[in-house]
Amino acid sequence: MKRNRIFLYVSTLFIGISASISQAIMIRELLMLFRGNELSIGIIMVLWFAGITAGAAISRKIKAHQFNSIAKNILLHPILVFISLILLYCTPIVYHTFGSFYPLEVELLIALVCLFPQCFIVGYIFPVLVNAGSSVPIKNPGTVIFLLESLGAFTGGIVFTFLIIQKINPLGTVLILFIIARIISFTVIQQRIKFLAIVTAILIAAFAIFHSQNVERKLLTLSFAANHPGALLEYRRTPYQMMFIARLGDTIALYGNNNLYAQFPDDYQVRPIIHALLSTGSLLKDTDILISGDTAFLHYVFAYAGASIDHVTVDPVLWNIVQQKFISIYPDFPSRLINVHYDDTRNYLKSTTKKYNSIIILPPPPDSILHNRLYTQEFFNDCKLHLTPNGVCIIQIEGFANIMNPSLRRYIASVINSFRHVFPSSLISAGDTIYCIGFNDTRETDVSNYLSHYIKYFSQSPISKTIQSLVPGFSPHEFKMYFQESQQKYLFKQLQSEHIINSDLLPKGYFEYLANSLKQTYSIAERIITNPLWIMLFSVLIVIMSLWYFKSRGIQHIVFGSIIFISGFISMAAIIIALITYQNVYGVLYYKIALCNALFMLGLAIGSATTFIQKDFFITRIVVLIVSVLLLFSFTIYTISLIFYISILLIAASTGSLMPLLLKKQTDDIQLLASTLDATDHGGALCGALMTPFVLLPFFGIYSLGILIILGFTLILFKKHI
């Protein structure tokens, strides 16, 4: 009996660890294959919860050999993850999308095939574990199993973030999980542990771990060759992203999470920025310039012309590659004249008091919250605060070719409006790329006068010779092409009808940019996913299906299921909003996803532990939930990380305590109730994962937290039923 109990505890812990590590791995690897933004995470989460929901809903009582069943399932989980990873790496080799991304339908299918089976196991095993707990027996088996699984997930998250992430590749990690599962399962499947069998299995797995790096390299090289021009030189997993470095002719291309970031040399790409800065009258010599963006030619030219350059980049690996490759092209690249700050641009601006003559921001397009935060009004305000009285801020944004559709118009308008709100004296170009020059003082902004002045000034400027020697064929006349009159008229006419702002709390620019990107795929899935009506309809359908499915299990299942569904929805929605808020404040989050996940799991464990107390404290738990959501909102104002972590912990603890609390109410057929609650919990989370990014956030932004508070209050109505 004791041995069974230990086996049960260890298995539960293991499945928590395995699920949490697999989730982090799958998110990172799928992001590499997909677009790498919140939409991809949304797809992953939805299918993740769908798998768990299905597994939990289908899980039936196993009367005989339940420990064997547990052992087989924990063994099956890492095997399925391993197969998923191999499938994931092989997909781009077999199904090419040269130079582009998969249509949304294909992404959904890949995510379904890779995630559903492994998540099904995680969902299926929970009620079985609870039932096994009741037969061992354990007091409050639901609470204990929930607690142990959450602790396992917490441990997995911590181990992944601080130990695995930079040391072992995903295939190797999963093989280690397989070895552990094999050891655990041997203790049950075979009464007499066959030493030789264990050693053989471990040796084979160890051999595979040793070679997993080579296997991964070969698969990624093949996959890169099938989908990108040029030859893959190397790839690196940094804490922030997966970097691919490729050679194309005499250029070097950099990809972060499979998205094209930059190409070097970038001398022709950045010429407009050189024009933009020179047109402001900058003499470059002895001026302080802050540059954020994946460029090197600007540094080269400006440093040579005598400017002092501060470069901000979050990923040291990225900058080292840029610098190394650029030096190979321009051996006289003045690295020593450039001060590099390995920080997030917004954080850097918050932490420094230095004032700059020019701030140049060249971020990737706002296709994720991470990038969008460099296009918001709050960020432009930060830039303005760090400008000298006559300083200038220059940004570039992806523009339009001749016409704009509504999404593109709203995206462009939201960014330009935000910029002009901060810099009332500004010059905006029009075209494929829009250059915005904001002046801290008041300047001439009539385009023709401005350009004439630039042409005149440049010919007399002492800097002109230096620039022309560094930039072949450089002529101030060239700048005129970005201010074509009819394009400008069109742009400003379009802007007149849009007054929206892109802000941290309501990131309209990001959502509109995403909608415009999706429009280019012409897929039915895109049309569905970008239409809030479909998402709401789908969510309602899930609710109806759940009610229909669980009605045969009795009214108690319906009531308890509803409570857990709502709490699952709130917790998922709150976590998505929390992650977006965190990114807004601190920048790169992905390397901390597992940590946030771990924290959430710790909250669940703490929450479930609180149910060991005799009294329910149901209302208290709901109040804690509401307060924690309010706390999360306060984080957007005070931006203290401790508030963020406490609110995640409290949200998880309050929502996570509800399931064990309700499981405590049932003594007979606990597996069936566990099945209902686990299924509705993940069903609610699934709806939260759908509704939050596609309905709540686009319409209400961070203010969606208000809706979650209202939903929290509705939970109080269930008090009399429990």
């Binding site: 040269f98 990108h228 001749n402 559709n405 064929g473 006349h477 060239e478 009819s486 039915i524």
Partner: protein
């Protein structure tokens, strides 16, 4: 006031639901309600009472009543083919002629540039995908008659009307009418085309035009079929035809890394141009930038463009340019006889034009092109 039949009402309801749920307008348009704004099309034949075949382009779409061609701009309504884009102008700009790019055609002048929705290709690198891949109803557009368009060109002092951005031949009827009015006002008409037109249609249109720029997307059938959704041979035939009809012709090849930068294909392309259009036909190799469905391909290395140019020059072409690379010396027109720059450009603009009556000021060699109207 429009009166609806029951069938039209139901169609409108379906259309509304579809718009609400899918956010797009596709085939459920109540045909007769809008037909008053449509123009009967040219170049089609009736197959039976409700079926027609469009013969405008090599797609040769077979259309039953209510269906549209691949171009989204022509629809069969009750057994008659209509153009849905006649005068339905969705994009309207005044561009320097160099932006088209036309380098040997009235340099330094502006062109009133117009476009409608739709295209008979589906290029994955289309810069104007919002126009070319949209249905006419999806875009804000203004109805401008041919007469009004010509008058606007006069008012704006633009000596050229350019049908550009999307594939202009899908607004064939409109161009055909406009060109004839423009001639009276001494306004030149040019098309910026993919050259995907049936012989009968191009023979009727090309002689009326003052210049044509054809996108010679690749010398490869595979590229045309996989990346553009078309075929190479009709394009070759139209390039040849344009030259035969004595219309000023310039060709553009957008060089996309790996997809169409094979030196052998570039060589074959140059040979074809030299053989069928003559060595003085300008050829522009333009730089690709990641866009639309090919966002994950880096810009073409400038050295690749220079290599393409070297190949074309070695094959005997005399005017080979590099585009989308502002400041590059191959933006300028060099006299093929004395090797001196005769037209210098910066970005989209001509900064110096030294030609004297179309001749090199240094060696008096005639530089082919349309220099004055």
């Amino acid at each position: 006031m429009i009166s609806y039949t029951r069938k039209q009402f139901l169609q409108s309801c379906m259309y509304s639901v579809q718009t609400l749920m899918i956010g797009s307008v596709i085939p459920f348009l109540p045909e007769d309600v809008y037909a008053s704004n449509y123009r009967p099309a040219l170049h089609w034949e009736k197959i039976d009472k409700q079926t027609v075949q469009c013969n405008l382009c090599p797609n040769q779409c077979m259309l039953t009543s209510g269906t549209r061609g691949l171009c989204k701009a022509r629809q069969c309504i009750n057994g008659t083919l209509y153009s849905l884009v006649y005068g339905r102008i969705a994009a309207y700009h005044i561009d320097p002629i160099e932006k088209k790019p036309l380098y040997h055609f009235l340099p330094g002048n502006d062109a009133l540039s117009v476009a409608t929705a739709g295209c008979n290709f589906s290029c994955k690198f289309c810069q104007n995908w919002q126009l070319s891949q949209s249905h006419p109803e999806e875009l804000d557009s203004h109805y401008i008659t041919p007469d009004q368009l010509v008058k606007q060109a006069k008012e704006n002092k633009t000596p050229v009307i350019a049908f550009t951005y999307n594939e202009p031949s899908i607004q064939y009827e409109y161009i055909y009418d406009t060109v004839q009015i423009a001639k009276k006002y001494n306004i030149a008409c040019v098309i910026i085309s993919n050259g995907y037109l049936n012989k009968q249609a191009s023979e009727m249109l090309y002689p009326l035009l003052n210049a044509i720029k054809i996108d010679f997307k690749a010398y490869s059938q595979k590229f045309y079929s996989e990346i553009c959704g078309g075929n190479l041979s009709p394009v070759l035939a139209n390039i040849e035809l344009a030259k035969k009809k004595n219309v000023w012709l310039e060709l553009v090849n957008l060089v996309i890394p790996t997809l169409n930068d094979n030196p052998d294909d570039i060589r074959s392309m140059a040979r074809f141009i030299k053989t069928h259009c003559g060595s003085t036909t300008p050829l522009h190799f333009t730089r690709f930038y990641p866009i639309y469905k090919l966002k994950n391909i880096p810009p073409t290395p400038v050295s690749t463009l220079e290599r393409c140019r070297d190949i074309a020059l070695a094959e005997g072409l005399k005017f080979v340019y590099i585009g989308n690379v502002p400041g590059h010396s191959a933006n300028n027109t060099i006299c093929y006889n004395c090797g001196k720059p005769v037209i210098e450009r910066s970005g989209f603009y001509t900064t110096t034009n030294k030609l004297k009556s179309g001749k090199c000021p240094y060696c008096n060699t005639a530089i082919p092109g349309i220099w004055t109207l």
